[in-house]
């Protein structure tokens, strides 16, 4: 009882990376609290996934296995999650901040009347004293996230309501197998009384899954453009540099919102998190919501006309100059000096 739960997301019989990342974080939280880590899977033919989940630290694997659970639909998954949480009373429940997690985790929180913090960038256990009542709590989940357009970092707690729930984006936490696999004990969820007929009322009539075309997460070199690149045309230069260096193109939210490039390239709190060997930030001012997604890069080079741009505070090399001027020179001198 009062364990740590992680909802496991399945895409085409594969466990989503974010779910394994959450198991790694969940394992750490469970160890701190001295409780068990339990994985929850709802899908079709998913019992075989238990050993894989055990490798990432799941002591228990709860399974609701039936064709009604795949592909994902909001209401059956909500019903199972709410039912199981009521039955098992976990103290913490974690979801991926994917379109699936962001679709149904709020519903779970609404049904249980408990708080849910979206897009956390860090989760730690800590103590808390309520400023009003003076009541003290030993070990609450600190849900840490940038807020207000990234200008502040907020630490959120749920002192009174259980479970404490949070979503985390893919790539924010590291995934790591545990030294010795956990037990991964398979337990079936008694889901039939939990799911009502009306929960099956929404029908999926068509479904297309696209191959992931852009892989900025796996790239070791990223050339990222911001609003300062100025235009779609300007982004061609960014692409050129990425091609020459053998890297991928990333972007800040401002550049994506301005329509300079595709949403799939967005790096930061509301995009993907990357940790490349080299990150070249072109015309990116460096708001925290962007840097939260790239400050783990091994080396950061910034190109900005404003020497006081915040990005320069985390950069290893800050070039003061325009993107149009600097990128062609980088390409030229790279070609001249590389073998």
């Amino acid at each position: 009882m009062n364990n740590v739960f992680v909802y496991i997301e399945i895409e085409e019989q594969q466990i989503a990376d974010v779910s394994l990342e959450l198991l790694t974080k969940g394992r750490e939280l469970a160890n701190t609290l001295g409780v068990k880590l339990e994985a929850v899977v709802a899908g079709n033919n998913v019992k075989g996934l238990a050993p894989e989940l055990a490798k990432y630290g799941a002591d228990t694997v709860w399974v609701a296995d039936d064709e009604i659970f795949a592909p994902f639909r909001t209401l059956p998954h909500t019903a199972v999650m709410v039912g199981l949480i009521k039955q098992e009373q976990p103290q913490i429940v974690l979801f991926g901040a994917t379109p699936v997690g962001r679709d149904f985790a709020p519903r779970v929180s609404s049904a249980l009347h408990s708080g849910l913090t979206a897009d956390c960038t860090e989760l730690v256990i800590g103590e808390h004293k309520d400023p009003k009542s003076g009541k003290e709590y030993d070990s609450l989940l600190y849900q840490i996230r940038p807020a207000f357009g990234g200008n502040i970092i907020a630490t959120i707690v749920n002192p009174e309501c259980r479970p404490q729930m949070a979503t985390v984006r893919e790539g924010v936490m590291r995934k790591e197998e545990v030294a010795t696999p956990a037990a991964g004990e398979l337990r079936e969820i008694g889901w039939k009384p939990m799911v009502k007929d009306t929960d099956l009322a929404v029908r999926i009539v068509e479904r297309h899954i696209e191959e992931r075309k852009i892989n900025i997460k796996g790239a070791s070199i990223i050339v990222a453009g911001g609003y300062g690149v100025g235009s779609k045309e300007g982004f061609k230069l960014v692409h050129e540099l990425a091609d020459v260096l053998g890297g991928e193109v990333g972007a800040s939210r401002a550049a994506v919102d301005a329509g300079f490039t595709e949403h799939e390239r967005q790096i930061g709190q509301t995009g993907v998190t990357v940790r490349p060997k080299l990150y070249i930030a072109c015309g990116i001012s460096g708001q925290i919501q962007h840097t939260a997604g790239m400050d783990g890069s091994a080396m950061i080079v910034s190109i900005n006309t404003d020497p006081a741009a915040p990005i320069n505070k985390i950069a290893d090399y800050a070039i003061t100059g325009s993107v149009e001027e600097v990128i062609p020179k980088m390409i030229k001198y790279y070609k001249q000096n590389s073998k």
Binding site: G115, T117, N151, C161, V202, R207, T270, Y317, T320, S322
Partner: protein, 282 residues
């Protein structure tokens, strides 16, 4: 449902005070972008059904009535402003509770909202409202495929790909930024609705304006105070919010020693040589 939000996307230099706190006054209040996509989809539903009304519900201070007027300029038929001190300090759960109380009173056939608001990016309020009203939901909606009296067919975005779903009505639909952009203001509608006022705005308006609106009921934006929507007061505002903000830190970048370079050829060449030598570049 629509929300007035500070324009966090265009944070200028004066957005932070010298003390390093957020200067809210320097941020313009705008119509939340995805709520405009939602308005467009609602208007498309009306275009297809014919005999329907599109009304906008917003929760916020008096000035949030601007959102309703803007929606009227673009095609909405009316609106509701849910306003009161009781709602202050609401987290997403308390917000969705308050909105669901108002929606019970309004009793719409379809509820459309933006996927998320740019000041919080949580995407929680739509699904939480759906749960409170015990309605099915379709999130990440991208295209209205079909609608009739009993069902709606929507194309929605997935992490990788898309799907088409059929949901029974009533339902809650949350609309993605990738959906069709909202139609612009219509000059005739601007002329027609520019004097629309919410109840509390009418209180301070002059007699001429009041008389003008009394003769034209469509210019009256209905205003609900907390008591008008029969809530359980314990579930409103701070007391109805399970999440508490423990700590707020202003973002202070930790300076590390950045080597400052100019855009001169010599500097750029030296950098590329160094990156190659250090095997950062292959």
């Amino acid at each position: 449902m629509a929300k007035q939000v500070p324009d966090t996307r265009n944070v200028g230099k004066d957005a932070m005070t010298p003390e390093g706190t957020v200067n809210r006054a320097a941020l313009a209040a705008i119509f939340n972008p995805e709520d405009l996509n939602a308005l467009e989809m609602a208007l498309q539903m009306k275009d297809r059904i014919g005999n329907a009304r599109v009304e906008v519900l917003t929760m916020g201070p008096q000035r949030a009535a601007d959102v309703i007027r803007e929606a009227m300029f673009r095609g909405a038929d009316g609106g509701y402003l849910l306003s009161g001190r009781e709602f202050a300090g609401s987290d997403t759960l308390a917000t969705s509770y308050a909105l669901s109380c108002a929606l019970r009173k309004i009793n719409p056939d379809i509820i459309v909202a933006g996927r998320q608001a740019i000041d919080g990016d949580t995407a929680q309020v739509g699904p939480q409202v759906a749960e409170k009203l015990d309605l099915p939901q379709v999130t990440y909606a991208e295209e209205l495929v079909d609608i009739n009296d009993s069902e709606i067919t929507i194309k929605r975005r997935l992490e990788r790909g898309s799907e088409v779903v059929v949901a029974p009505l009533p339902a809650v639909i949350t609309v993605n930024a990738s959906a069709k952009e909202c139609r612009p203001r219509n000059a005739k509608r601007v002329m027609k609705f520019k004097y629309a006022l919410a109840t509390s705005e009418m209180a301070t308006a002059d007699d001429k304006a009041k008389g003008f609106i009394e003769e034209r009921p469509y210019l009256h934006i209905v205003e609900f105070a907390a008591a008008d929507v029969n809530p359980d007061p314990e579930q409103l505002g701070l007391s109805g919010s399970p999440t508490k903000v423990k700590k707020i830190e202003n973002v202070v970048f930790q300076a590390k020693e950045a080597k400052t370079l100019t855009s001169e050829d010599a500097d750029i060449e030296a950098l590329m040589v160094e990156l190659i030598a250090g095997h950062t570049l292959g």
